[in-house]
Symmetry: C2
């Protein structure tokens, strides 16, 4: 079965994954905003430090969702901060009876909120382990990694995620179906909660945090709290992953977390799904993430100044 | 008995208290550093929003401790960050057999360290509830409050602190002998730990922290932690003081905490006595101040950048 893909939000993540799918022969339709005219004219470009570079000359680019065909797989690659306000108008025109929505987004609880916006449409969540920056309109610089993991929330068609995983596999990326969405989400949060917020509050980068003894220890303690929070919520993450993730972060090329880029650019931070929901859900399950809550409160303060 | 006072460190605090003692007729000798020449020439000036202004024309001003007479009461008004390196050379020349050292400084454990530097000399600690800025050489602007409370550490002469309290009383200030130094120190830390560090990390002022719902709650939680830490260390502070102190801080004229001034000026922050000792002592007594420790770790990181 040939599937049609829609990329809702052709930024760094959406641009890269969409370009890789299209390059591997899938039918991909890109929704763009400010970059529409340039991408229509000049196509999409990926400079990759990991794979071959990609240049897509002819792109199915659209400025308005109403102009797009209905698609089988809607890949939402926007920041969660705009889910509430823009998803209904951007996604509704793309849906047919069998469409599924896959949220390549960060945080906890986002699938439930989106599923409530689109009753009857199956939703899944995906985490992307990737370092990619948009360096110009339609121009992505892919620095490192690329793995994609997809976890089902309420898609009824049992083979759907397998077919999407297979399509991503054909691009050369490592793609995987997660056994449990809750565990997938919490695992990614161990990194995101720790380094996104700390980089904003201390105006720094993850490598500098780990080069200092005090913040190395604090990072470890925050990761530890998130794992206990995850465990309370039924996501059985092992303690040992703290050390794996520290090693991984030390080995990473210096890379500003997305929340730091958002804060520096004056854009809203993804506090609701990355901090507020995890703190509230862990608390409701009986574990109070004290330092994570402090980080959230500091970020809430900074978001107003 | 007429007593001789030495002011070691004639900054905002030392300048104000020394000028008030001298103005009330006490014999006060001031040790100065960079302000020496101007104060010798032009005297000390206090512009007070609370009391009458003071102008001391003739000041016993010294640039070197070796030139000063021995004194009965040595009031140390330096930042604790210089205790280790400079107190021996600045205080030793001022001591006779009956001298006492009173530390008008912030933090926990400072008396024990200073007593170890001066075996055989009695030491006490004092907390100053005061808003005062040095606005020029020998020029103090006294904005609010002024209360001084003195707690004994190891002074053997039982009447000594009473006599110092009486001398301060005659200046018009409210002075008091504390029943328990440990409780006095912890009580002051409830404010200092909360607002000093938060103003540095979030680059703001106490009034702005309390005007925001997230940091208002965080401030309350940190105060609560300090009270539990104090209680673990035998300083029985009541929970209700959180609300008194919040009200007090909201009513205060906006005032940058000293640690914020130090950080902005590139001076070392008083982390050892205000954060490291309290965290370690509470932990040793069985209570871990999780958020205070996080604040300390953030401050340690910032102190290096």
């Amino acid at each position: 079965m040939i599937m049609k893909y829609a990329i809702v939000g052709t930024g760094a993540i959406g641009g890269l994954y969409g370009a890789m799918l299209a390059n591997a022969g899938e039918e991909v339709h890109f929704l763009l905003n400010s970059d529409y005219a340039i991408v229509k004219e000049e196509g999409l470009h990926v400079i990759s430090e990991v794979f071959s570079n990609i240049h897509l000359d002819k792109v199915n680019a659209y400025q308005h969702a109403a102009d797009m065909p209905v698609c089988d797989v809607i890949l939402v690659c926007l920041k969660t901060t705009s889910n509430e306000s823009v998803l209904p108008s951007l996604v509704q025109p793309l849906l047919h009876d069998g469409s599924v929505i896959i949220l390549i987004q960060n945080g906890l609880g986002v699938e439930a909120d989106v599923a409530a916006q689109f009753p009857g449409t199956g939703v899944a969540g995906a985490t992307a382990l990737i370092s990619v920056n948009k360096v110009g309109p339609g121009q992505m610089h892919h620095l490192d990694y690329g793995d994609l993991e997809i976890g089902n929330f309420n898609i009824e068609d049992a083979g759907m995620i397998d077919r999407v995983v297979a399509a991503f596999d054909r691009t050369g990326l490592i793609a995987k179906k997660a056994e449990d969405l809750n565990t997938l989400r919490w695992r990614k949060l161990v990194w995101n909660i720790t380094f996104n917020g700390m980089c904003v509050v201390l105006n720094t980068t993850a490598d500098k945090l780990l080069a200092d003894r005090a913040t190395y220890n604090l990072s470890k303690e925050i990761m530890h709290e998130v794992i206990l929070g995850a465990n309370a919520c039924g996501a059985l993450l092992p303690e040992a992953m703290v050390y794996d993730m520290l090693q991984f972060t030390i080995a990473m090329r210096p890379y500003a977390p997305s929340m730091k880029l958002d804060y520096d650019a004056g854009r809203p931070m993804e506090l609701r799904y990355i901090y507020e929901n995890p703190v509230a859900m862990a608390k409701a399950a009986g574990y109070y993430m004290s330092k994570v809550d402090m980080l959230l409160q500091q970020l809430l303060f900074l978001s107003k100044y």
